[in-house]
Symmetry: C2
Amino acid sequence: MTNDPTQTLAPDSLGPTVTVGEILVEIVASKAGAGFREPIEFIGPFPSGAPAIFIDQCARMGGAAAIVGAVGDDDFGVVNTERLKRDGVDISAIAVSSDFPTGSAFVRYRKDGSRDFVYNIAKSAAARLEWTREVEALITRCGHIHVMGTVFASPAAWAITEHAIAVIKARGGTMSLDPNLRKELLTHGQTEEKFAALVDKADLLLPSGEELFLAAGVDTEQPAIKALFNHGVKEIAIKRGKDGSSAYHRSGAHAQCPGFLVDETDPTGAGDCFGGAYVACRRLGMPIERALEFGNAAGARNVTRLGPMEGAGTRAELEDFIARTARRS
Amino acid sequence: MTNDPTQTLAPDSLGPTVTVGEILVEIVASKAGAGFREPIEFIGPFPSGAPAIFIDQCARMGGAAAIVGAVGDDDFGVVNTERLKRDGVDISAIAVSSDFPTGSAFVRYRKDGSRDFVYNIAKSAAARLEWTREVEALITRCGHIHVMGTVFASPAAWAITEHAIAVIKARGGTMSLDPNLRKELLTHGQTEEKFAALVDKADLLLPSGEELFLAAGVDTEQPAIKALFNHGVKEIAIKRGKDGSSAYHRSGAHAQCPGFLVDETDPTGAGDCFGGAYVACRRLGMPIERALEFGNAAGARNVTRLGPMEGAGTRAELEDFIARTARRS
């Protein structure tokens, strides 16, 4: 264990962390079961969307934060923009569509923990992103871009992300990537190529499950990490859910953090909160070990609340959570 | 009071009653309040959409019934198609869109009885109707078309409706019109012209509130009725909500029906259910007075259940309701 020997990500002072992608409301079934074919009880709308959850936690942690996205001209859009604004996210590049509704996701947990969804994303404002003057103005002052794998589902978000990466890297900024992918999605040739190209550009990778192996093309952990370092990745933070997390820096520095023991109410958003806190901490100059602890705490705290970003914590809330929560041994 | 002296509408034996338009799910807030800007409790999805409610009640009453519409390839679509099919509606001309989601409406009642909505209709499957082979096959065997004023909101539904009216009238069928309109909507010149042309083609008109006056261009009841008869309308059934209903035939026959005394749980769909039952009864050969009683009963029974078409009744259920429910004096 060492302190962080290198600063992998551009410091917060270079400009905000930005992410591009879907902003949604989530409507959650109150009781477990299958599907949505008869009237059931729901609670919602909760602000949601993987990039939105990430950036909200990033801002709450104290990192400069912004998002490129779009909502409809309806209450569901306001739910999101108000929350992000309240939590300190720069919302100047969130467009409000007069034609398309805010994206939505109905979620119902099955008794085995799997989930059923009814989505409206592809035909919602979330899919209608454009490179506007507001986006231009924002991107040219950002210091870091965080890419969510969900970007592959939206051609518009992908186009903006690609251009934004170039602009931000050209001014000395950095890039992190949360693959947020499943193997099935990668079998489309084009996505596989795009993903490989993104991995090569990433300074920081935040995989979970088999994503590490998908990114590396190697199916055991240490060789996968070595392969990714050879591709130019500088740092890898591996999310292991209840089992905590590990981080590796190509300088040889590494850290482990055991999982916090919490009662899970709603697992949605845990990985996104981990990422938001981790990236914010690293950009604020914290060492890997401390960033890992905050990332773990952010993910663990978030699952204790119903709603995908309801448990995102401020730095003070996460410090309190860390001090008062037992960890797996 | 007389028996019905003329058969205004084509008999059921000529072919089903068809309607064209939006099929939606409705998600209803459990408690009264304003808007959707924080998480609240909902119940849903309920099958909905004014044309769908109308046609479901028409079928439950025993009338031959069909609908032209579209849903998404999701559970919310299945909620609608399964319900309509179960209740005897011909669903052969309901398209299933692989691109667009099923239309939806979130509804919240305010304490004063007014309602807030978040809709997704314009960018849903509900707005993507096409004149398919299935629509062609259906329309050419229909005996009556019921037009909902909501059709003006959808260019695609309007185009199909216009053509369907011509086809059905050419084979000896008839047309009914539920204006379902507000004055503000009529101020768009084109809609006003379209509406006037529809009124001229209507055999039966089913107005509520000020719609009678909008249709006639005359603002007192008896002169408005006379003006409409002069325009070719044969029969007018006026919906008066809690105060019941009245019907006038141009032969001079007329009937009144007092309102049923019920505890209102959810007013949505009452007028549509009235129309579905009334049209079915008239096409089944019942006199105006009896049709009016069934129409009133269908509307009144429907408001006792949560969900826009949950209270639609079969003939036996409505007969039972009529026998057991007190009326306003």
